[in-house]
């Protein structure tokens, strides 16, 4: 997939919207709040979704430092802010549905999100574009994409649909750029790609990142299944990553290969070699007391549901 990045940047700038463009007090709130069965599950789901967007935002912030061209750097600056906007909008929906315990308190992240936040804060800026640029499309297409679609299939509130119409239009542009970069990352001699890949895999910082990322995916999958999402939908999303990313350049990118393969393992519950240790990690991480972690980084505190400040 080849894009003209300067035109894409202009399109991104022309497609801006703000939380104030949506009437968060419009009728339809009761379609969620009065659904007693859905409501508690949706509260946890929305918190996860919001945090995933926020984690994605931090990923783009790190990529903005690595981008090889000025246009791509600027695009990532915008994507960082747009992912934050999505998290803000999702928080505004939670506020509308009475899911925030306190007007000024963020929804509590689960421990696996919390670990990924810590890792991003400490190491993301040290990771090369090849790693971040390969994993971000996977996160966007599977978690973000599948979660958003599921939400719209489940919730009838028209304000939720209005917000996600805008969010999905942004995400379509994100995926366009993501896969363009994925293709770009496959350029260059194969031996060099392989050597760099192996060298990076041995980087302890990345190992810690993988150890935070894998249980997050399994935990999210479990949450979604509990909420009623069919696993086939996740499978379809992973296939989409493989299909769109599997261009000649993409296939030469070892990170794409690894992440595609890992995506298949995640959705294949029969793969005990993968799931037994990763599920053990989920259980192990659940035992980490929150006070053992340092205070959340200040970039987290920039989240807000308020359209005006």
């Amino acid at each position: 997939m080849q894009l003209e990045l300067d035109k894409m940047l202009a399109k991104i700038k022309d497609s801006q919207w703000a939380l104030a463009d949506i009437d968060w007090d419009a009728p339809g709130r009761e379609l969620v709040t009065e659904n007693k069965e859905l409501y508690p599950k949706l509260k946890a789901f929305m918190a996860d979704l919001m945090w995933i967007e926020h984690v994605g935002a931090r990923g783009f912030a790190a990529m903005a430092k690595k981008a090889p061209t000025e246009d791509l750097r600027e695009i990532y600056r915008y994507f960082h802010a747009e992912e934050q906007k999505h998290a803000n909008a999702e928080m505004a929906l939670m506020k509308r549905w009475g899911m925030l315990d306190d007007a000024d308190t963020l929804p509590e992240p689960n421990i696996n999100i919390r670990l990924v936040v810590e890792w991003l804060d400490t190491y993301a800026d040290d990771m090369p574009l090849s790693v971040l640029g390969s994993v971000i499309p996977m996160l966007e297409i599977t978690l973000d994409g599948a979660l958003c679609k599921f939400l719209l299939d489940t919730v009838d509130d028209p304000v939720c649909h209005a917000a996600f119409e805008k969010i999905n239009a942004d995400e379509a542009r994100h995926l366009g750029v993501d896969f363009h970069v994925l293709e770009m990352l496959g350029h260059g001699p194969l031996y060099r790609q392989t050597l760099e890949f192996v060298a990076k895999l041995l980087d302890p910082r990345l190992m810690i990142g993988i150890a935070s990322y894998l249980p997050l995916l399994n935990k999210m999958r479990d949450n979604l299944v509990e909420l009623g999402l069919k696993e086939e939908k996740l499978y379809t999303a992973v296939q989409k990553y493989e299909r769109i990313g599997g261009t000649p350049g993409g296939r030469r990118n070892p990170w794409f290969r690894l992440i595609s393969r890992q995506g298949r393992w995640v959705i294949d519950r029969a793969n005990r070699a993968y799931h037994v240790p990763v599920d053990a990690l989920v259980k192990l991480t659940a035992k980490i007391p929150p006070r053992a972690l340092p205070p959340v980084p200040t970039w987290v505190k920039q989240l807000t549901w308020k359209p005006a400040a």
């Binding site: 104030a20 802010a81 980084p297 400040a309």
Partner: protein
Amino acid sequence: MNDIRIPGFKRRKKATIVVDETPKPSQKMVDVLIVGAGFAGLGTAIRLRQAGVHNVVILERGTEVGGTWRDNQYPGAACDIVSNLYSYSFAQNPDWSRSFSGSGEILGYIRQLVKRFDLERLIRFGQNVTGMVFDEPAGIWNVNTADGQTHRARAVVMCQGPLSNSSWPKIPGLETYRGHKIHSARWDHGYDFRGKKVAVVGTGASSIQIVPELVKQAAQVKVFQRTPGWVMPRPDYVSPEWSKKLFARVPAAQSAFRELLFWVHESMALGVVWTTPMTSVMERLMRMYLRSEVKDPWLRRQLTPDFRLGCKRILISNDWYKSLQAPNCELVTWPIAGMSPKGIRTVEGIEHQFDCIVFATGFDVSKAGSPFPVTGLGGRNLDSDWARGAQAYKSVNVSGYPNVFLTFGPNSGPGHNSALVYMEAQIGYIVRGVGKLLGEDLAVLDVKPEVQKAHNDEIQKRLRRTNWNSGCKSWYLTEDGFNSTMYPGLATQYRSQMARFDGKAYRTVPMTVREPV
């Protein structure tokens, strides 16, 4: 005071130009017409008169002298070069109150120049130049002003300044904002910031001086940053009385101090202009300064530049980082999506609402075009000639535009030393050029195109190795990345290239038709 009278500058007998110090009606011809009564214009007039050229007129579009320093009177405005070096060597001031003086004191110095050198009667205020055309047979420039006058001159010195037109950012919906708008270069001194919610757009040299002052007054200040700059602390101090007395009694002591300051700045070129081990050392020191001032890692990340030191202008401040961390201040790094009637919408979807927005967005620096239409030989137009980036010979003369001299013309900007050092070198060169023009009674003194081309090829070749051309976007470069702003070398090199007026580089045509004076 130095004597800069030009050796051999004697008019030919047939050049019967009468030296007349009385103000002339504007339509009468003058020897030298200077556009702009800022630092450069006034300095040029002083040196021309000291060299024996008295028939000089200065056109000033404002109602007061001072140029950039007259316009930039925002709170906290100060020079980031030590005052002893940011002043003329031929007009030193022993009474600077601080090492880095504020804009009010600098403006006072400029006013003093006018008094001390009796320049007031040369200046025509309210004369906004709208264009100038060269009359080739007569060897005269016709300079038109907005009020319909035409001034005629043998030579024109363009001193309108690179930082004279304030620049509003290209933000969608700028005109829709209904609150109060202030540009740093056109400060509204009547606006009361107390209790107000204020935005400052931009984090360049003006902003880092304005924000610390606004934080003291306003209820809330949000600073919108696109790119963080490298910041170094300013060794500011109140001038002790003994040094003022010493400099007043022994001017040589002040000259020696000035020389010391010159070489301190000159040594910084090794880190600022080119990438050397010293660049890395300086970057490390500035990172250490940032770390010592800002404890929060995320804010520190937001304030850490991702370009090489020197690629953009280095910012100098002692209170910038402190101000950003004040309880009533917040740094916003989200890209600006547009403006609304109540404030600024950023891409993270939030509308930041304000009573007042301060635009510290700098100046519309003319890098690819002339400030007003200039028509030279054969009807050629400077705007067209400079469409792909401005070029000149030694930053002062442009081929095809005889008898015109520029101050702060193409590739004359310093990144590490005082602008006044460069300005003095330019003025010296201009005085020599004017001396040749008048002394030899020339109708045309025009730099040869091949000489200009060779000079610029060399400049551009040298620029490729400098930090300014190392990949960042800055106001030094055109949209296409062409650098027509900076001089790629030491101030010493620049002074050296300007020390000699090489007549062979110019095509000359003697005056055959004389206009009655």
